[in-house]
Symmetry: C2
Subunit: 451 residues, 2 copies
């Protein structure tokens, strides 16, 4: 019997092991570590003049192979940074050690986004070896700040727009929606993150010696956070939903037609029950509705103080025409209007706002992608799905390069992105390589080269 | 000009420097560190057969000088453990390095309770050198788990009740209420601590890919915590206040007669405004009303997840006849009744519950203490105050040894107990030594020796 891992192309496992071992967590790694990851990746792109280029933050990795004159040009986007590990006690394997575990590979970043990027490079190298060339012109832009909202990507892309010019951006970031079927994502949600900070006394106070005389910032923060949602979990901030269109009967019907088993999903996620905005199916909430999630709270600890400071870390996923700036203003106004007594409350937005993004389902690139997936997954209908996560680069590429972005990642959405025990299915790597090759072949003939 | 520090008895500063340098944080120190603090303290008690004795937790330090046959016996209580440092970034000096800063000494534990204990030992040694003996018999019991609720002290004291027998316990723990005047504490609040844990999914979830489909445990915890208090800050848990007597007009009048400046207090604490239960003055709330404070929250962090778990750390300060067990039951029933959807909520009480404690204002020990303070602070009326904090040993000594506890600490309540930048006034050390000597002299003649 052949183990799943034996299906990988020669050298792939060793390369991904090296790559995952570089702990390129863009929230906490040193600039040296981030550069090491970039240098490693540039080394894999030597056939495309791969190189590390400076930005105002962590560097980007660039490269291009332009040996198909007259053919279209695609820009492949991805990222080499990863999320923080979170609580190490919750990991079953060492996060930065690639582990082969039957049908999956385990490790931080293996599916977001190190594996999905590496399979594109492996595919291109294989095509070059096999055919002596690629069917179209390819540029690469692989950044190191995706997980922190790509704060320096806009400046870089605008400054290098001529060099990055392409007919289409193909993102190796994102994820297939489910393991059982091929899908193409035609939209992604926007993102705006902010902190709600409550401040009380000048310093932490002994909870006995001062208790009952001053407001506790943790109580105040709980009051503020509890006011952000209605009982059904929908966002209760006036003005938050400005720009969110009512779901059309047609879109409702489309979503209702997608096979989706609430109970199966509930068990997979491991919650006692599903929960969310009344009047929408689970899938409609996930794909079409904006969210406001408190990602964490920093406040005191398990000792008898009244903390002088409590901070709620919030992120909102946006849809439709929601304007990140107006969302922040709406939350600020709501929190201010609460006028929680005895403390000071401040709302501070993080940089790196991203509006929601959409590509039309009949765009030539989407049609080419459907055909490519149909070839690799015969007998499976190709679903048009939504990435409920955020890809900050998409709207940037549209405005700065005039190019739409096709999401074409072979990660799967259940592979514990951003959580402990991240993994990637080994089978997706070979499938992804075949699909990318088929996509490029199709794009070479169906997309008009303009550059 | 003489610096305040020059007023300290010879060797005192060097000794306290050594003692503070042992980071005996009973929440996180190793058993070896805790033992080192105990051994150090026992070494200072060599004149009283000082020794370290085992308990089921961190050891206690014991000692006795019984050279005054026929005179009463007092048991001196204190502790060698300290609170965690909390966020080191908020300390202006290294917490375990004793720093002389004009009129104060700085360092973790300097005023809670290392300084106030050490001054009693220095006083006794001075008396022995000066007079060749002490006016009464003295036993020592200095524990290492006060800051974690003294979980093993009851078992130890009950098992050694005969050896610890005394006419009166004098606590070197606690604090004078204000720097400007002498005071005796005639009551302390009880304590019960608990965690409210909310659990959602099996693991942290990507806030985009799952947002809107499941309840967020942080939102649920905020809802639970926000429900614990009314708008005025009073505790809104049904049954919580069972055993709390309505404030008598006489006690209200007594408290109103105490000089207390709300604005001065507000500025000292550094809050925008004072806050608390309607219908009570600031001082009445501090001294006579129970509290429920959320000391901290552990939940996720500043990255885009829906945390699978959120925990609120709660402690309640009890008064009157509140029963800790019934308080926990009331909170549990309240939280259960909320029935927050989509998550599981558990209430888990910590061990080490302590009911409130009181000594009558006309108890002979209180009268002796008033006289001793009047001698050291001539012209200052001696206030009868309340320790709004908790001294877990008091009710234990009453039940196990049949002895009341007199609080006689020379810490001051504003000295940042449990907070960053803890300090102790140098002047209190000499004053404390003189007052303890005067107290022992008075107790030797006014308290009947029964042992």
């Amino acid at each position: 019997m052949t183990a799943p891992v034996d299906s990988l192309p020669p050298g792939f496992l060793a390369a991904l092991t090296e790559y995952v071992a570089i702990p390129s967590d863009s929230r906490s790694a040193t600039p040296e570590t981030m550069r090491a990851a970039a240098e490693w990746l540039a080394g894999r792109l030597s056939w495309a003049a791969g190189r590390v280029e400076e930005t105002d933050g962590f560097p980007v990795v660039r490269g291009e192979w332009l040996g198909a004159p007259g053919a279209p040009t695609v820009l492949v986007y991805g990222h080499y940074d990863v999320q923080p590990t979170g609580d190490l006690a919750e990991w079953h394997t060492a996060p930065f050690e690639l582990v082969v575990d039957g049908p999956v590979l385990r490790g931080r970043g293996v599916t977001d986004d190190k594996g999905p990027v590496l399979l594109v490079l492996a595919m291109a190298e294989a095509l070059l070896a096999e055919r002596g060339g690629l069917p179209l012109n390819v540029k690469f832009l692989l950044e190191g700040e995706e997980e922190i909202g790509s704060p320096h990507l806009p400046g870089y892309v605008r400054a290098h727009a001529d060099e990055l010019a392409a007919d289409l951006v193909i993102s190796a970031d994102g994820a297939m929606w489910r393991p059982g079927e091929p899908s193409i994502s035609i939209a992604s949600k926007g993102l705006v993150a902010l902190d709600i900070e409550v401040t009380g006394a000048a310093e932490d106070l002994h909870s006995g010696r001062y208790g009952g005389t001053v407001a506790n910032p943790v109580h105040a923060l709980a009051t503020v956070l509890a006011s952000l949602h209605a009982a059904d979990g929908s966002v209760a901030v006036p003005g938050f939903a400005e720009g969110v269109a009512e779901l059309s009967p047609q879109r409702r019907a489309e979503i209702d037609a997608v096979p989706f088993d609430d109970e199966e999903y509930r068990v997979a996620v491991g919650v006692p029950e599903l929960f969310g905005e009344a009047g929408y199916s689970t899938l409609a909430r996930l794909w079409e509705r904006p969210t406001l999630e408190v990602n964490g709270i920093t406040a005191g600890g398990k000792y008898t103080v009244i903390p002088h400071r409590a901070v709620g870390h919030v992120s909102c996923r946006l849809v439709g025409q929601q304007d990140p700036e107006r969302v922040v203003a709406a939350i600020t106004a709501h929190v201010t209007a609460l006028a929680v007594p005895g403390v000071e409350v401040a709302v501070r937005a993080d940089p790196g706002w991203v509006p929601a993004y959409r590509i039309e389902p009949d765009h030539p690139a989407v049609l080419a992608a459907r055909d490519a997936l149909a070839e690799v997954y015969p007998g499976h209908p190709v679903l048009l799905a939504v990435i409920a996560g955020t890809l900050p680069a998409t709207t940037l590429f549209e405005s700065a390069l005039g190019a739409k972005t096709l999401f074409f990642s072979f990660a799967t959405a259940d592979e514990k992105h951003h959580a402990p025990n991240e993994f990637m299915r080994i089978s997706r790597i070979g499938e992804g390589m075949r699909a990318w090759a088929a996509l490029w072949d199709r794009l070479a003939t169906t997309t008009e080269g303009t550059r």
